[in-house]
Symmetry: C2
């Protein structure tokens, strides 16, 4: 038994958690840059809630709301410049994975004179500013991970960075903020969170502690899956999905992701398929590919999801997400080659060749 | 669903974990005070291992080995003075709960001009020195908690302090270090770790996340219990017990303990009964007292321990620990009154009156 366990983010979960724990903000400084996208921070009520608390605490702030889906290195460069301009003491990220990830890059760039491409070296002279992360989707888990995933047009894919200093200091997880998401986004992000638990549980870097958190996340997905397929969602489901997403974040902080994420980035980059949905399209064939290497674990996942076998699971995913795109052989070869450049192929429980990724992409 | 989740200690678990992760030490400074008791740090090999690493990293150190069982405020005062004298940048605690807890008090006193009695206010002007915690018993969980429990002769009991700054920065959990413990200590400390999981799982401050960790700890105890009763212990048991103990520490960092610990301190203070054993003597009656308030949970604990009911559990504890002491009515009244002054009565799932504690003590 050899493992590391570490969860440095102070996570506050529950309805009203920002106002109940706002004293934490006062410890971070007198000036904040809020990093967010155009919509969900406002529509969810999260932006209003945090601004009210900052004002009450006499903390100044500016809002940088230019984070697009799958943020580029240019965007985080602009965010870093804005943080410098206002003299930010800390960064507040609000939104789905894109703004939360961007807030980490901004926190680094605000205090280090480097180009965004140097973020991927994971070595920063000055410790990043503290980050407060407020998710408005239940999927990314980014609020409790050190990871920041940025789109690199030079490499034609998404690449991540992150070290022990890029964990958010505080996460506020209020299930109400996920209520304004369209149902489709709720489903896609839930599948992403499930994917974190699944890939952590089946991956090479799994640990005894990540396993118990992953299994709880998988059970929670199983409890919501039937209703999600029937397009029904209650507040209790919102709570469970946000909690699953947090657990998934803690899991991948320890295990990383594997080839579902690695190959899925291509579907997002080239086909514009939302991240969670891209993962969902790959999941069944991923488990089929790994079945002989993780039979007991995959059977256990099926049991927790109340599924008889992988075919039934595949049908459930199609019910939930629709049909996967058809890829031509040129696309398959290109995506498989790019996937092989990702670290995530090394963490798969079964050794992976480029032809294996191609075959998975062919079968989805 | 309302909860907080936070595990700021970087825990490295496994055989050889100090030497494999010694680069962490270099980040903490150039001078260390090692805080320990007279025996286990040396006998376990932990002291030699850490000194070798410190020397290799060119970090100076002194050894303060005066921590007694159930350390007093005088002892930690002397330790704080020694840390100041050598200009320590960080503290290394090695041992069972007593040295690990003492190392936290020393880390505070090294940089704050206060009397030990002021530790219990939990407010320190200067942030304590970083702490590296190396357990040599599988019980306390102190390596991953902020708690420091000291004996206060003025109050005739043990009292705790601890805040977000007294979590150890690093914990090295090497199961080999627990091998030199006598079998009786192994059993007593295992019962302590189990008690952390049990009290966390049944207590009022339980959270969804503490529950899954507690249940894993309870299962691990169930897996070892039969062999412990037969005085058999393998290296795999040592691993599982140390892991259970870590999980129990993470659990009580979130939930605190309840009346088992609160009442048990009296058996330790007045009767000299080791801490874990004292908890074990109280456990069966504690569950009986709470049964109507936590029936499903207690039944679940019995299932995970493969016990038919509380009577069978009580017999197993007697097999493991021997007979509890007989207390006279004067002792019962005194201990019950002292227990009621502890915060731990407030966290019990069933409201507790002084007569309830007296009845539990009468029945053990």
């Amino acid at each position: 038994m050899q493992f590391k366990f570490h969860m440095p983010t102070k996570a506050y979960f529950g309805t009203g958690c920002i106002s109940q724990n706002s004293s934490e903000l006062a410890l971070l400084g007198k000036q904040a840059l809020i990093v967010t996208g155009g919509h969900s921070a406002r529509e969810s009520g999260a932006l209003t809630d945090i601004c009210n608390e900052l004002t009450a605490l006499n903390i100044g702030y500016a809002v940088f709301d230019k984070v697009e889906n799958n943020p580029s290195t240019d965007t985080v460069k602009a965010g870093g410049a804005e943080a410098k301009r206002i003299g930010a003491d800390f960064i507040v990220g609000i939104g789905g994975g894109s703004p939360l990830d961007a807030s980490k890059a901004v926190a680094v760039l605000a205090v280090n004179e480097i180009e965004p491409v140097e973020l991927f070296t994971n070595k920063f002279t000055t410790k990043p500013l503290p980050i407060v992360a407020i998710p408005t989707t239940a999927g990314t888990g980014s609020e409790v991970t050190p990871y920041c995933i940025l789109t690199r047009n030079d490499l034609q894919t998404k690449v991540s960075f992150g070290n022990a200093d890029t964990f958010p200091s505080i996460a506020f997880l209020d299930p109400r903020y996920t209520e304004s998401q369209p149902f489709g986004v709720t489903v896609n992000t839930a599948v992403d969170a499930f994917s974190h638990c699944l890939e952590g549980y089946l991956g090479k870097r799994r640990t005894p502690a990540s396993d118990i958190l992953a299994l709880e996340g998988i059970s929670l997905f199983g409890r919501c899956l039937g209703d999600l397929k029937a397009a029904k969602i209650t507040y209790e489901h919102r709570e469970n999905l946000l909690y699953m997403s947090m657990l998934g974040g803690v899991v991948i902080s320890h295990t990383g992701t594997t080839i579902v994420h690695g190959a899925g980035y291509n579907l997002t980059y080239f086909k514009g398929i939302p991240h969670g949905k891209a993962n969902g399209f790959l999941m069944t064939e991923y488990m089929r590919f790994n079945y002989d290497y993780a039979r007991d674990r995959i059977d256990n996942v099926m049991k927790l999801l109340k599924m008889g076998n992988l075919d039934e699971f595949g049908e459930a995913m199609t019910d939930l997400l629709g049909e996967a795109p058809c890829l031509d052989e040129a696309e398959i070869a290109q995506y498989a080659a790019i996937t092989m450049t990702q670290r995530s192929t090394a963490t798969n429980i079964r050794p992976v060749a480029v032809t294996d990724i191609a075959e998975i992409l062919r079968r989805i």
